[in-house]
């Protein structure tokens, strides 16, 4: 059996596009959401029971829907945003909706780990709430945030494989249609191999970056 390398590299490219853009938009949604989940909780900068309860519930609801269902459920919305419900661009929409709330939780966790004493010091020196977030909370949590983003990215690679279901393409799609449905073991092994290398590489890069930020 011949291996069509052009096909594989195209699939790889599609995966990279899907993951990169989903990550980008998911962070744009997840970062403010994660920050709000922290600062609106009790005793924090902008304590607000209602905002916190609403955001907390929304995040939980999105996180409890299985990705494959979410993908189908948001087809009308996807069509509204990108004009079509099939293809790489269309896959990005459910991936963002899937990953955004997840990233919000990861960011929330990282920010909560920051020593409350640092915030107290910030308040004592007369920092505004915005300054406390941008100059104290985020820099102190950055190392941990980096690891969180790494986990989210790897989660997105997994999700991108399922995105083949809406014709999103990518390595996962290739592995299913050629490897699984057409018994092309070679293609399946190669795609899975590439995915393993990607995940390993990402995790290592994330670890190194996190360490570098932590400077320990």
């Amino acid at each position: 059996m011949l291996v069509d390398w052009a096909q594989i590299s195209e699939a790889l490219w599609e995966t990279i596009i899907m993951v990169t853009f989903s990550l980008l938009f998911a962070v744009v949604i997840g970062l403010p959401l994660g920050i709000l989940l922290v600062v609106t909780r009790k005793g924090h900068l902008w304590e607000n029971k209602y905002v916190f309860t609403v955001l907390n519930s929304v995040v939980n609801i999105f996180r409890s829907i299985p990705f494959i269902i979410l993908m189908v459920a948001v087809i009308p919305f996807t069509r509204l945003v990108v004009g079509t419900s099939i293809g790489t661009a269309a896959a990005i929409v459910p991936m963002v909706l899937f990953s955004g709330p997840y990233i919000a939780r990861l960011i929330e966790n990282s920010l909560l780990e920051v020593d409350p004493g640092v915030m107290e010091a910030a308040q004592a020196m007369g920092a505004t709430p915005r300054q406390i977030i941008t100059r104290f909370l985020i820099p102190e949590a950055l190392s941990s945030l980096m690891l969180g983003i790494t986990i989210a990215t790897i989660g997105l690679i997994g999700a991108s494989a399922m995105a083949g279901a809406v014709g999103g393409g990518g390595l996962g799609d290739l592995a299913i249609t050629f490897g699984y449905q057409r018994f092309d073991t070679m293609v399946m092994l190669i795609t899975v191999g590439i995915l393993v290398i990607m995940v390993q590489g990402l995790q290592s890069t994330g670890n190194i970056l996190s360490k570098k930020i932590r400077r320990r």
């Binding site: 004493g117 010091a121 004592a124 020196m125 007369g126 102190e140 950055l142 932590r214």
Partner: protein, 343 residues
């Protein structure tokens, strides 16, 4: 400089409310180092946090530098906080930033020009003796060095008041001493009013001018360190003083008191200031027909004034002993009979 007026702080608990501060009235003069001491849970932390409104009092008034803090808008309050430095027990430095940036932080918040920031931070690094550590990160420093960074940071905006929240409690005795020296230097050279809370009486003895004893959210005693140390009025103040002055009368002395013939013969003499230098006991031995036997004693220094504490036994006729006591009273030295039941 700092005034607490009828300050009460109540924390709402699940089952019942906790009163951390109960009608506290306290005035701290400009330029003084004022120590607040108490056991954990006495309300010290709440008190110091009310001085820059990290915690808002439930009722009462807090004035710093003639500003009624509770009446200020959030913006005015942030402004006022630049005039109130704060040093923390656990330093609370940014681990992700260098020593330089940590110290510069309060200035960076107000967008101070870069050259001014650099000048001020270098000045402070020099002042706290860490010029060679500017580019290090906090986790590369020892506890004492971290606290020096914390102190330098608190001074960046040239405040007139410095709040020290158990600033030396996480440090070893040697480092504590050097940090206290530094605080003293700040007080002297910049004339900064310092409010320090601690549970260590040694800290009060080393650097404070005034001391306030806090118990269950109430001020139980307040006055000059010298007065409180030499004549503590309350039991709790007495206990704190004893913890560093070691003026407890040893058991062996009490055992002597059990004997009938030693009654009315054992006295505690407290020398303060100049009287500590006078050769009182040798004068007595020479001029009166009594034997002087020193059972226990120590002399410490309080703010540069010697402070002596002796337990002596006079052997001789009752009449002669009374004359000796009269003589000692005339010398303005405190003398008290030690009784067997005072324990």
């Amino acid at each position: 400089m700092i005034t607490f007026k009828n300050v009460t702080k109540v924390y709402q608990g699940k089952s019942q409310d906790v009163k951390a501060l109960d009608d506290v009235n306290l005035h701290i003069e400009e330029g003084e180092i004022h120590g607040v001491i108490g056991f954990s849970g006495a309300g010290k932390s709440s008190l110091i946090r009310c001085a820059n409104l990290l915690e808002r009092p439930t009722s009462g008034k807090v004035t710093v530098n003639n500003q009624d803090l509770l009446r200020l808008s959030p913006k005015e309050l942030r402004e006022a906080k630049r005039d109130i430095g704060m040093v923390f027990q656990h330093f609370n430095l940014l681990n992700s930033k260098t020593v330089f940036t940590n110290i510069a932080m309060p200035l960076l918040l107000t967008n101070t020009p870069k050259d001014k920031v650099k000048k001020r931070v270098n000045e402070l690094l020099n002042f706290v003796g860490l010029s060679d550590k500017a580019d290090n990160y906090p986790d590369q420093l020892s506890g004492g060095q971290k606290q020096r960074v914390g102190i330098a940071r608190s001074l960046a905006t040239q405040p007139s008041v410095l709040l020290c929240d158990e600033a030396t409690s996480a440090l070893d005795p040697e480092t504590t001493k050097s940090i206290l020296e530094l605080l003293k230097k700040i007080n002297r050279e910049y004339n900064i009013t310092i409010l320090i809370i601690t549970h260590e009486m040694g800290v009060i003895r080393e650097i404070c001018d005034k001391v306030t004893v806090l118990d269950s959210g109430k001020v139980v005693e307040s006055g000059s360190v010298f007065d409180v140390f030499s004549q503590p009025e309350t039991k709790i103040a007495h206990n704190f003083v004893s913890s560093v002055m070691h003026d407890e009368i040893p058991d062996s002395v009490y055992q002597l008191l059990q004997k009938q013939e030693d009654r009315h013969q054992i006295y505690r003499i407290v020398f303060i200031g100049e009287s500590a230098g006078a050769p009182l006991l040798s004068q007595i031995a020479k001029n009166y027909n009594v034997e002087v036997n020193v059972l226990f004693g120590n002399i410490t220094e309080l703010q540069g004034t010697p402070f002596g504490n002796l337990v002596v036994k006079f052997e001789g006729e009752d009449k002669e002993i009374n004359r000796v006591i009269m003589h000692i009273h005339q010398q303005k030295v405190t003398i008290k009979e030690v009784l067997a039941d005072v324990s």
